[in-house]
Symmetry: C2
Subunit: 349 residues, 2 copies
């Protein structure tokens, strides 16, 4: 228990009275900060503030509402930029609730001295991504901070979409027996960003997988299957996404290690840097939990969609070890896929 | 015309190829950046992206949707903090469209090393402000940047509300003959923030006016009056708000200088620092344009509300000098109240 002046934190935060990089990593430390400091601070006003995407009622409509801040560094990387990332990421948070994305807002925090040409490239990328995703950028804000109080452009997008009646896609609905599907290979975004940071150049170029996934979700829903859970494995990668679902639904997840699709370029970079590819961020992939007997139909629909050609089944939702994710290795043993604690790759999105 | 590599700006931005403080001031340079760089970058996806608050249709509901980034420095100041400012400011953007605010999101960009106790004080202030305003914090995000790439806490809030049928409150509706009303005295927020910056201490303490204004707007609407325009005069103050309305509606605005309510503490601080109180930010005030024959009813309703006790009429919407704001002085002459160009007080909100 950290003793704050005038503010007491109801549960222990790890060993630090200050913000550290790990609080932004999307793993256990991020979750602790949100659950034990931010949401309690909100009090009665923040009952659902720990959700990536809220589904709420307004004026008789069933809305999805989400927000994400983007601080990726560098702002331009193989396969994308902070601009398309900020549009696609918010579109995807809406899509993971089964929503049709409609409107986006964009708030810029600009560092003094940032080239306006960079800002122009970013807004052009945002416009192209929004047009491709069929969403409209309808409102925004621009603030400027002094040189040395920012780092180029920070960009927060929020999104609003509509959720059809009957669609209930939530982590708590993961059910023993569900097939666990993934829409494509893993780790491209994180390695793409890392590959162009100063002093870290690999032989192969891995491009970010950034993409809008609501069309893929619509194709999956069109099969008539009851999708229980959808999640885009961004910060913290597949490991964080599956651990969060397992913990929320109190189920176990069992993966088959040889079915986990890690491309060679990602595997090589991770090997070199000592990273776990299952903890590396993706920005154009989704994980789905679906009734096992509907899994083949859903997989076929995914593979027929441009953003799901690499879809495959990677595991099963099990009654054993609730809250835990394990992988069966090629040798017949199992290893635990643990929740990342802190920050493996800072400022990846 | 600035020649960007790979990106050409369709209209001149003032003399700089880089972001400068003035781009964040809420005056002419901010407007140029949005109109000539950001919105054109968006292309077809950004038709209304220059609006503070968009009114859109979703699932049969008429929604207001807005976003604002907050970078105020220092984060705690007399009368408030970045936390209540971020809640009230977004509530007010919704209210200025005549919306009932319902849901807020909050995205944090935290600098490494920021005391968690500060974050706790901020989230507690957000929760208290949200509860007071009757809105719910339903979703959020948290990112961390390195020490020296931020400045404590940057906070972006977005908001969703519903707009009743028949309510059409927009700058373009300002009409010749309208009475121009203000809900209270001017300049408190800007002076409050400035007063506690290092090395700038005044004899008197002026507290920020930060407050949620949707209840006041509801009271004004309840009179049955046709409110044409509402605006909260934040960055750039009353001068920026009125100039923007005058330019949008192609009308003139004539103020009576002696009716402009500037409290002594604000006047003293502005005199000392060479600031124009009409350009200083407010965070709990609104300006209204309303039919002159309904103005007395609206003023009475405003004065009966806790956030409108200081309401008064300050001027008239005129056919002369369209796009321009002038004030009649005590000596019988007139002076032009011009649009602020750049940044008088950086990081005021």
């Amino acid at each position: 228990m950290i003793d704050f002046e005038g503010w007491s934190c109801p549960a222990p935060l790890r060993d630090t009275p200050h913000v550290v990089a790990g609080h932004g990593g999307g793993g256990a430390m991020s979750a602790e900060l949100v659950r034990h400091l931010i949401v309690p601070g909100y009090g009665d006003a923040g009952g659902t503030a720990d959700r990536d995407c809220a589904v709420v009622e307004a004026g008789g409509a069933r809305l999805a509402f989400t927000t994400d801040a983007y601080v990726v560094q560098p702002m331009f990387f193989p396969g994308g930029s902070i601009g398309d990332l900020a549009v696609n990421g918010t579109v995807n948070d809406l899509a993971m609730a089964g929503a049709t994305p409609l409107y986006l807002s964009a708030a810029f925090i600009l560092e003094e001295g940032t080239p306006l040409a960079d800002l122009g490239r970013i807004t052009a990328a945002m416009g192209a991504a929004a047009t491709a995703a069929g969403v409209r950028l309808v409102t925004g804000d621009t603030k400027v901070v002094g040189h040395g109080n920012g780092d180029g452009v920070y960009l927060t997008t929020s999104g609003v979409g509509v959720v059809a009646d009957g669609v209930e896609i939530e982590p708590r609905r993961a059910t023993v027996g569900d097939a666990v599907l993934v829409s494509g290979d893993l780790g491209r975004h994180g390695v793409a960003v890392l590959s162009c940071r100063e002093g870290l150049e690999f032989g192969t170029t891995v491009a970010s997988d950034t993409a809008p996934l609501h069309g893929l979700v619509a194709a999956m829903l069109a099969t008539g299957a009851d999708l229980h859970v959808l999640r885009d494995p961004t910060r913290g990668g597949l490991a964080a996404a599956l651990n969060e679902i397992a913990a929320t639904a109190r189920v176990g997840v069992e993966l088959t290690e040889r079915d986990l699709p890690v491309p060679d370029g990602v595997a090589d970079a991770c090997h070199l840097l000592g990273l776990d590819p299952l903890q590396v961020a993706n920005e154009g992939r989704l994980v789905a939990f679906v009734d096992a007997d509907q899994a083949d139909d859903v997989l076929a629909a995914m593979r027929a969609h441009p953003y799901g050609t690499g879809a495959r089944r990677i595991g099963t939702c099990v009654a054993d070890h609730p809250g835990m994710v394990v992988a069966r290795t090629a040798l017949g043993g199992t290893r635990v896929i643990s929740m990342p604690i802190g920050e493996q790759l800072p400022r990846i999105c």
